[in-house]
Point group: C2
Chain length 205, copies 2
């Protein structure tokens, strides 16, 4: 006997489908995207797509995880750079990301998270709820490290600073997704953010 294609094949195909889905989500957002759109974009039949993903929600969730496994390491201490330099760089990276928000998944992400308000769903996707916590942890650890080296003299505990930073970025993304980068004056706001961070962290430099 002899069935089947290689083990590779399926995961490769899956990645292909995820990439097509990503394109769809970027242009249509989450709410207005459909399985049909993904089929069309991937040039694949209904049955094929459903063989890999049960529904749009699962599809998005997989995409989210796939994308996530990229970043993460931005906040591990780097030799030869001060923590303040690192965070300045990160802020700038966020700015660039937000300024070309039309070409990112930010909008779709917001929609996706909002669409999960359904109680039941939230609990069945622990991944979603731990994402925020993880980011808080990473930032908190980063601030703690900067403090330990004597570079920061924080005026507030590190964790609230971390949460505060996340809220601001999320809000700026939301507003910019809605109004456009010119209307929200992204770069001016980033200046204000850096000013605030400096005040809260009291970097020595």
């Amino acid at each position: 006997m002899a069935p089947k294609v290689s083990d590779e094949y399926k995961t490769q195909k899956k990645i292909e489908l995820l990439q097509a889905a990503k394109r769809v989500f970027i242009t249509k957002g989450y709410t207005r995207a459909t399985m049909q759109d993904v089929m069309d974009e991937a040039g694949v039949s209904r049955g094929a797509l459903y063989a890999y993903f049960d529904n749009l929600e699962h599809l998005y969730l997989e995409l989210l995880q796939f994308e996530d496994q990229q970043d993460a390491q931005f906040f591990t201490p780097i030799a030869g750079e001060t923590s303040w330099q690192q965070i300045t760089k990160w802020v700038y990276k966020q700015q660039v990301e937000i300024e070309k928000i039309e070409q990112t998944l930010s909008q779709a992400n917001s929609e996706f998270f909002l669409s999960l308000k359904d109680q039941q769903k939230q609990q069945s996707y622990p991944y979603i709820t731990t994402r925020y916590e993880k980011m808080v942890d990473v930032l908190t650890a980063f601030f703690a490290h900067g403090t330990a080296t004597g570079e920061f003299k924080p005026q507030l505990p590190p964790e609230p600073i971390a949460r505060y930073l996340i809220s601001f970025i999320d809000g700026l993304m939301l507003d910019t997704a809605h109004l456009g980068a010119e209307k929200t004056k992204v770069s001016e706001q980033m200046e204000a953010l850096l000013f605030s961070l400096r005040a809260m962290l009291g970097p020595v430099q």
Copy 2:
């Protein structure tokens, strides 16, 4: 001859329907709410509801305007209170609002705004796009006033501070709508906000 019910009647009925709709939007958000839900909640027939509102979008827009015509005057200078006291109060009011986010329209609002990403729609509803601008103006004027009286010694121009403040609040709302008020630690973040504002505005006191 003689037709018709009173002129009052219709506007009264409309308000009734808007209130029913509000309850629906609070519990289901915007995306998952349907005209059917509103009919059920209001105890009214399909035809009746459509006689007042063409579709869900128009319905929400009218509700939004109806709700908006409440606030507005929070940032007009008040005799016997410093600007810093006023803004502290406002921040606290926001905190309370966000902490009971399950009973407000915040979630529905976010969803509604996001759902308008469609280019065409955005332009046909100038009200939506000017809402943000109006809030920026109000806050900017408020900061400028506090500066004119010598109470603030701002380290940044007032407008970026205003936008920055709005972004943070929007982000905190978004995250809290998604994760709940305990997970986001609303009050700690508000402390951080006040700290930042103090640093940016340099209030004398």
